[in-house]
Symmetry: C2
Subunit: 406 residues, 2 copies
């Protein structure tokens, strides 16, 4: 606080952990998206076509009719019990997730699960291992607790287990290994079963918790399911974050964490100080939806849509993009990851996409170490229509050409 | 992590800041309230009669009809813009809150505003000054960031400004002064205008932010409004937390923070890592409610109910309780605060209330320093009916008598 000519000018002394925290670059990109002529591949949103509006409307009205006081009153921090039970039951029967020592807590979106896991396990100055690249929302959550991020390059089938062990051997302050093994954000890749097994064994050897973030796992439109790391967890070392954001509604902010009861108990105590509990009405709405309709049919229809869009984007890329440019071929999720030749001037390239009214998210956004050089960017295929995808990728091809890439 | 006879037993190494954090004692009391014959004065809940169910039902259906994609999709972290504008406008016109330098963010309940304020301003080992007693949810939020709590005894009209200055002079690590100046939780008292002015001047002198928590401010059923500290803030040193929990619905988790734009900007960045944004549907529902019906009429009806209940509780106490027992006479809010003779064995007394099937919250729950001796307890009058109040207070009088208090 400064006093200037009798007038006080406030300057705030922020805590060390948040002092240098910047808003997600994606948000800034979105601010430039008010121009309706821009074709955006920058989103992380589910398609609005994926929201089961009429069913939710009907069920919401039923809640107002039959249980309004429960839906509008304070609930318990652990979450609405019927929903917790449904989530546990579904994780178990469909994905073999959940041993006797595990419990489920309902969170305010998957994001809150990530945030609370870090708060509960990490002191300032501790280390969190992440994939390189990784989800910006998680990276910023970790940064907001003053931890150091250590990125490990993710190849086409996940991080290298030997590289993971090397980091764990050298850095005794690693408290968390954060992974999105299935349809990773931003890369769209899936970690192989072999690597999942190896990573789990190493985590056990060093006694470090794995935070398995799986918001996209059910969005598979090609290939075969790979077991989650959590499904192989026989001692409670894996904390599993899931979400309804990509399969029912993102705006409602309902997710969940499944993990060892000791860990969940502590997360409950901390969540209580954070937002008391997650929106009760929408917890009941999720529960009613599962009860009445189940999730499987609805998810199937989402996957048909995303499968079509992804195939359209891949064939447009195949047709238009020179062979010096590579890209992942996801079997599910929302994203694919394009890598330009290593020598590309990315600032110039991104400027060219903006001028051409194409929005993509530059790869540097997703780097645990933002100074790390990358010539990649992320494309989203859940939001645009097939027509927009075709048009947008053809413009992108022209931008690539204009940047001198052949 | 321990290996016992080949089986791994997980033991988690929690972060220093959350290691000793205990769940709110109130939650534990609630677990004993499954017995329907218990009369509970332990709640912090609004009355279910205060929820405008039919109006919300109508408006919710309108949202599903007209703007489902907006309501179910990701929103921006700052909050739904029409609601932010309505909150700003109402704070300004009705309570003279908000200068040019101020902004509003929508939070997931008032609790999240308190949590983020502490995260943004406090390092571990810093000090937060609180009233003695104070709101357990806030105290635990502060504790979860590893700060030290310094309680200042609150008299019948708030903390003593000289005492505040003394603490600020001695402790250079004070980063926040947390106050609930109006209808305080748990005590029901209101800080006088004179003290508010003095506290603000001292905060400015020492350059320490005041966190003014005002979830009950509109729940006045007697006496005259006292200006908030924020309304007198001419430099941005006061961060003001408000909530819709006690005037529309607590289960929906919608609150707000009004403060200096520099502080709000940082809170936005940190909220983004916490839960991305607050439930979008209910933000729109609040906005529509304000737009269609306004809040004033509805709040008036709540205050008639709480005024009746409080009067009933006070007259029951006046009739039944010996003069060695004192209690506050609130002009609004949800709570009053009963103080037994200093020599009372509180563990024994609370045990007697449990045996008599009366639930109250022991005063120690609300102490920044839980080892501080107190012979007080909190009574809630928003949840019980007048009949329950009369019956419960008469039982409480018997308990007091049985404990040898005359």
């Amino acid at each position: 606080m400064l006093s200037i000519r009798g007038k006080i000018k406030m300057t705030f002394d922020f805590s060390d952990k948040v002092k240098n925290l910047k808003p997600s670059a994606i948000r800034e990109i979105f601010k430039s998206l008010t121009d309706p002529s821009v074709i955006s591949f920058a989103a992380g949103n589910p398609s609005p076509l994926s929201f089961p509006v009429e069913k939710l409307r009907l069920l919401a009205d039923e809640i107002f009719e039959t249980e309004p006081s429960k839906a509008l009153q304070y609930g318990i921090t652990e979450g609405y019990l019927p929903l917790r039970n449904q989530v546990s039951e579904r994780l178990k029967s469909k994905f073999s997730i959940g041993k006797d020592f595990d419990e489920v807590i309902i969170t305010s979106g998957g994001q809150q699960g990530i945030d609370l896991a870090c708060k509960v396990l990490c002191n300032e100055g501790d280390t969190v291992i992440c994939e390189n690249p990784s989800f910006i929302g998680a990276l910023n959550a970790f940064r907001s607790y003053g931890v150091n991020l250590k990125g490990i390059d993710a190849g086409i089938d996940g991080i290298n287990p030997e590289e993971l062990e090397k980091v764990l051997k050298e850095d005794k302050r690693v408290k968390l290994i954060y992974l999105i093994p299935t349809f990773q954000n931003p890369s769209g890749i899936t970690t192989s079963l072999e690597k999942r097994k190896a990573i789990l064994e190493i985590a056990k050897k060093y006694g470090v918790v794995i935070l398995e973030d799986n918001p996209y796992g059910e969005l598979r439109f090609a290939g075969r399911d790979v077991p989650t790391i959590k499904s192989m967890d026989d001692c409670g070392i894996v904390l599993y974050c899931g979400s309804f954001s990509k399969i029912l509604s993102s705006g409602m902010r309902v997710g969940f964490v499944c993990g060892h009861s000791e860990l969940i108990k502590k997360i409950v105590v901390v969540k209580q100080t954070n937002d008391v509990h997650t929106n009760q009405f929408f917890q009941m709405l999720c529960s009613k939806f599962i009860d009445r309709y189940g999730l499987d049919e609805h998810i199937k229809s989402i996957n048909e849509l995303y499968g079509r869009n992804c195939a359209c984007m891949l064939s447009s890329l195949d047709e238009n993009i020179p062979s010096s440019v590579s890209y992942t071929r996801p079997e599910g999720g929302l994203f694919l990851w394009v890598t330009l030749p290593r020598s590309t001037d990315m600032d110039d390239f991104i400027k060219r996409t903006v001028d051409a009214k194409i929005a993509v998210v530059p790869g540097s956004t997703f780097m645990p170490d933002p100074s790390k050089k990358t010539s990649s960017f992320r494309l989203n295929y859940s939001m645009p229509t097939e027509e927009e995808i075709k048009k947008g990728i053809s413009i992108l091809a022209q931008v690539i050409k204009s940047a001198g890439i052949n």
